[in-house]
Symmetry: C2
Subunit: 225 residues, 2 copies
DNA sequence: CCAAAAGTGTTAGGCTTACACCCATGC
DNA sequence: GCATGGGTGTAAGCCTAACACTTTTGG
């Protein structure tokens, strides 16, 4: 038992369906926790970056291509896996509704409502809990909602994302003003057609509407030596 | 080169001296980057939690006992160490001024101004940069300043911490009101004696003034299986 | 008494909230 | 025309920033 810890990468994935947050899980096909649901993931490869591993395993196991991917936390408690010491670097991802439609349920992949998960393998319930907290937090001060929407969207759709994640209802008038004042979305000039009632204007995010991750994203230019 | 990545833990430490942020670094005594300054740290031990490793190495190499310790980020780019793949789980810590006084400079430990570091080993400049960003961010919305102060303090001292970290000067009158309105500090009833001018009241943080880390801190009670 | 920092009062402006109201479309 | 969601207007209340002012000490 004195071997080096094993290094894993897992990802919590969120998508919106019917104004609810859903997350895909994979069925474990070996011990420990065989047949239990768990976060998609795999072992770190020597010649592959951590985020690249997260993206690759996500694609391999769930066929999803995320619009947003960020490191969540590194979990390394000694008791978290019964089979020996495992340190998991966990990412969290957002995927668009169209994506989620494509990657439907299968024998070994199933979507669950994010706030009503079954008992998962390892400490994965706790991890999803934390990812949800992070998503809700970030929703309040960033343009992260972008990751859950299509390229263009109405203000009602954008508001729907916020309402679903925050679990509250928001005043349409005030939401509109705040969203537009933020400066990260602009009208496309088009209007949504085919629906009942007055056709709403379509918007899109401006190109440089990056989610604030601090100096990490511009890291390459910071190195001094 | 196809071996498993090595797992390291490092810590960025901040303390306040002369209204400036300082950070202690250790001199590397072996290759790679021999004789360069680097973050204190060490390898993950099979039977020791990550945070425990951070605290232990911090004590061993710099003799410091932090008042605050939180995971910062996990760095795992493939090119970050010339000697092979190393994944570093980095923590950041705050220590009180008295502590920092005790742990003075030595042959292999030296304090630097956090915003004027030399060229460090590995990607450690980038890491400190990110830790600074996180500290500044957290200072704005939490009671993290607690970690840089003694048990009791005047409002001028508390304001000094905010001014030093944020790099701005703050209106004493408004700062006072906001600090007291927050509800996380209370007057001790004592006053600072010996100084010139009117003796300022002393304050302390209320016991439950925990810094918000989301569901991570209460994690033990969340596990469902 | 004077200088300087502690501490209080007051006002203007900005942002949020609540809600009244008009607009444009499908049926 | 009428129901419904899209979109605009507006006033009250809260929070912040700016700064005048009073208080209390050491010298």
């Amino acid at each position: 038992m004195d071997e080096q810890p094993q290094l894993a990468v897992s990802t919590v994935i969120f998508s919106l369906r019917d104004s609810e947050l859903w997350t895909p899980l994979v069925r474990r096909i070996r011990q420990p926790f065989r047949d239990r649901w768990a976060l998609p993931g795999g072992w770190v490869q020597p010649q592959e970056g951590l985020e690249a591993t997260a993206a690759r395993k996500l694609l391999e196991t769930t066929a999803l291509d995320p619009t947003y991917l960020e490191q969540l936390y590194c979990f390394g408690d000694i008791g978290r896996s019964p089979s020996g010491r495992v340190v998991s670097i966990v990412y969290w991802a957002l995927v668009r509704p169209e994506q989620a439609e494509l990657a439907s349920d299968g024998e070994n992949v199933r979507w669950f409502r994010a706030d009503a998960l079954p008992g998962l393998a390892f400490d994965h319930n706790r991890i999803v809990e934390y990812a949800l907290w992070r998503l809700r937090n970030k929703m309040a001060y960033s343009s992260i909602a972008h990751g859950l929407l299509g390229e263009t969207f109405t203000l009602a759709e954008l508001r729907g994302v916020h309402e679903a994640v925050r679990g509250t209802t928001l005043d349409p008038a005030n939401f509109r003003r705040q969203a537009l004042a933020g400066g990260s979305i602009v009208p496309t000039g088009e209007h949504l057609v085919g629906a009942s009632h007055r056709p709403p204007a379509l918007y899109r995010y401006v190109d440089d509407a990056l989610v604030d991750q601090g100096p990490l994203l511009v890291s390459a230019s910071i190195r001094e030596d």
